[in-house]
């Protein structure tokens, strides 16, 4: 039984089949590679410099000074104290961030608009919402390190600068995500309550909060874990905690202390990760 003959589609390029996407792929790939070159130049990217004998010696000396780890009692006591300060800074910062984020997210949520119940939102409420949203985006975009640098000049060295920096940046992050969580999901219950005359805050507490509480809590816990990492970073500009100790030890090339601090930090992050995962599982 021979195969049924179907009229073959005439070949476009007169008999020879070529891959039509090949030339465009090669073009884009070459373009991408060519664009990497100026990036490498401006960042002075010369990784072979790490292999030069002087640099190699310095690196090796530093790495070998990691062992033995510094573990005398006084140092460890200090480490424990600074670890608690880091965690406390993160917790206080996220708490203040919540104080900032919750009202702003409520103000930015379109779900709670009274004028939008009967058609389009009025211009003034829409403008206010847009401004609040924009403020949240700006707060979110400024890295917390920049805030910390500014606050250190105002209130001096110490955890206050770190707490305020975390509060502002994380306030923006939490506010924006809370607003997005409020926008997603069903708004039927909320709108019904508002249509029947209840106030906006009542509608929030009775309709929106119960349905979104788990997701909000889950995200907040996740951000708390991020805040712990941030507070270590902020320590480098004078906000205290593990970060500041790490900065001091590195400036003195004390590898043993650096190694201990790094290990403690990684353990802290692992514990926070586990706690946060457990909490998020329990909440959902």
């Amino acid at each position: 039984m021979s195969a049924i003959q179907f009229p073959q589609v005439p070949l476009a390029s007169g008999g020879k089949l070529r891959d039509p996407d090949f030339s465009s792929r090669v073009f884009w790939l070459s373009l991408a590679l060519v664009m990497l070159w100026p990036l490498g130049v401006v960042t002075e990217f010369r990784p072979w410099v790490l292999w030069e004998p002087d640099n190699r010696k310095v690196t090796l000396d530093f790495l070998t000074s990691f062992w033995p780890l510094v573990h005398d009692a006084e140092f460890l006591r200090m480490v424990v104290r600074e670890t608690w300060r880091t965690v406390a800074m993160a917790t206080a910062g996220v708490t203040l961030a919540l104080v900032l984020a919750v009202p702003m997210s409520l103000m930015a949520a379109r779900v709670l608009s009274l004028s939008a119940l009967s058609g389009r939102m009025n211009r003034w409420p829409a403008c206010v919402r847009w401004c609040v949203r924009y403020t949240l985006i700006v707060l979110r975009s400024i890295p917390e390190l920049v805030w910390a640098l500014v606050f250190v000049r105002v209130v001096g060295l110490g955890p206050t600068a770190g707490v305020l920096a975390i509060a502002l940046t994380y306030g923006g992050m939490l506010g924006k995500v809370y607003a997005e969580i409020f926008e997603s999901g069903e708004s039927h219950a909320t709108h019904t309550l508002m249509r029947n005359g209840s106030g906006r805050l009542q509608a929030f507490v009775y309709a929106m909060l119960p349905s979104h509480a788990a997701e909000l809590a889950s995200y907040t816990v996740y951000r708390w874990e991020c805040a712990i990492r941030s507070s270590v970073v902020l320590g480098f500009v004078g906000a205290g905690g593990l970060g500041q100790q790490l900065d001091n030890s590195m400036k003195m090339f004390n590898g043993g202390e650096v190694a201990t601090l790094l290990l403690v930090f990684m353990a802290l992050v692992a514990i926070a990760d586990t706690v946060s995962a457990w909490l998020r599982r329990a909440l959902s």
């Binding site: 990036l39 640099n55 406390a88 917790t91 206080a92 708490t95 390190l145 970073v233």
Partner: protein, 278 residues
């Protein structure tokens, strides 16, 4: 009639609401622990609210903010800021690209490709990825400054190392979650692991990988902007320099440039991601 006879209510007794704090309820203990943690944080941290709350502090704060304006927009300084911004952008882009390549290389041993895959490298590689991503970019930069010296190379490498941990884990999870049909069909034919990866796994997962990489670039531009504070070049180095000398007008310009740069990269990344997934 004396009330010696106990009366029975005509209706069923109301069920009382549960007590606010029940010793057997785990969630109650958890809430108490959370409140204690928050209160302990505020109490032990010696926060200086006075520095903020007094009228005097308010006035000095106002004066401090007033020093920022007007920002310095002289052409000479603006061109320096533009150069620093370009350096920061290049740092973040190159660091992200290197991290994507390293992340892919690490994601292959860190994922279980099929049910028959022994994946004996999975645990050690995952541990390595966790270690890489646990250390923040700034700490990596401070460590690398010792080997690489001052300048943007330390920043690029720091971003690359941290982000490869993040991307490696995301890539491995993406590769483990794809449908197994195409890979299984090739494995039934006896095709080797590398070719199964190239013909079945990678085509399915590539759009997701590029999406993650672009999303990560948004984070890295913020990180790159501040890495300079420890000496890794770019806008951060200029910022810390000018702030140290209390040149607030110049600082204001640099902050504005930072915001603009972050906004541009956010928009670019969003547009590219939408274009990729058309």
């Amino acid at each position: 009639m004396s009330s010696a006879f106990p009366r029975e209510a005509a209706n069923l007794p109301y069920k009382l609401p549960p007590p606010l704090f029940d010793a057997r309820c785990r969630a109650c203990w958890f809430t108490v622990a959370l409140l204690l943690l928050v209160i302990a944080s505020f109490v032990t941290l010696e926060l200086e609210w006075a520095a903020f709350a007094s009228l005097d502090a308010g006035r000095s704060m106002y004066r401090f903010i007033a020093e920022f304006f007007p920002p310095d927009v002289s052409p000479k300084f603006v061109s320096k800021v533009v150069l620093a911004a370009w350096e920061t952008l290049a740092m973040s882009a190159l660091g992200t690209v290197i991290a994507a390549v390293m992340g892919l290389a690490l994601a292959v041993p860190a994922s279980r490709m099929s049910k028959q895959d022994s994946a004996w490298l999975r645990s050690p590689t995952r541990w390595l990825l966790n270690a890489l991503r646990a250390i923040p970019e700034l700490v990596w930069a401070a460590l690398l400054l010792i080997s690489a010296g001052l300048g943007p190379m330390a920043g690029t490498l720091a971003l690359a190392l941290h982000t490869s941990g993040v991307l490696g884990r995301l890539f491995a999870e993406a590769m483990e979650n794809i449908p197994t049909g195409p890979g299984d069909a090739l494995r039934t034919q006896g095709v080797g692991q590398l070719r199964v990866f190239a013909y079945a796994t990678l085509p399915q997962v590539l759009p997701q990988l590029m999406s993650y990489t672009l999303y990560r670039w948004e984070n890295n531009i913020r990180a790159a902007a501040v890495l300079g504070v420890v000496g890794a070049g770019g806008l951060g180095q200029m910022l810390s320099f000018n702030m140290g000398l209390f040149l607030m007008n110049k600082t204001a310009t640099i902050l504005g440039a930072m915001l603009l740069l972050v906004a541009c990269v956010d928009v670019l990344s969003f547009t590219l991601r939408r274009w990729l997934n058309r």
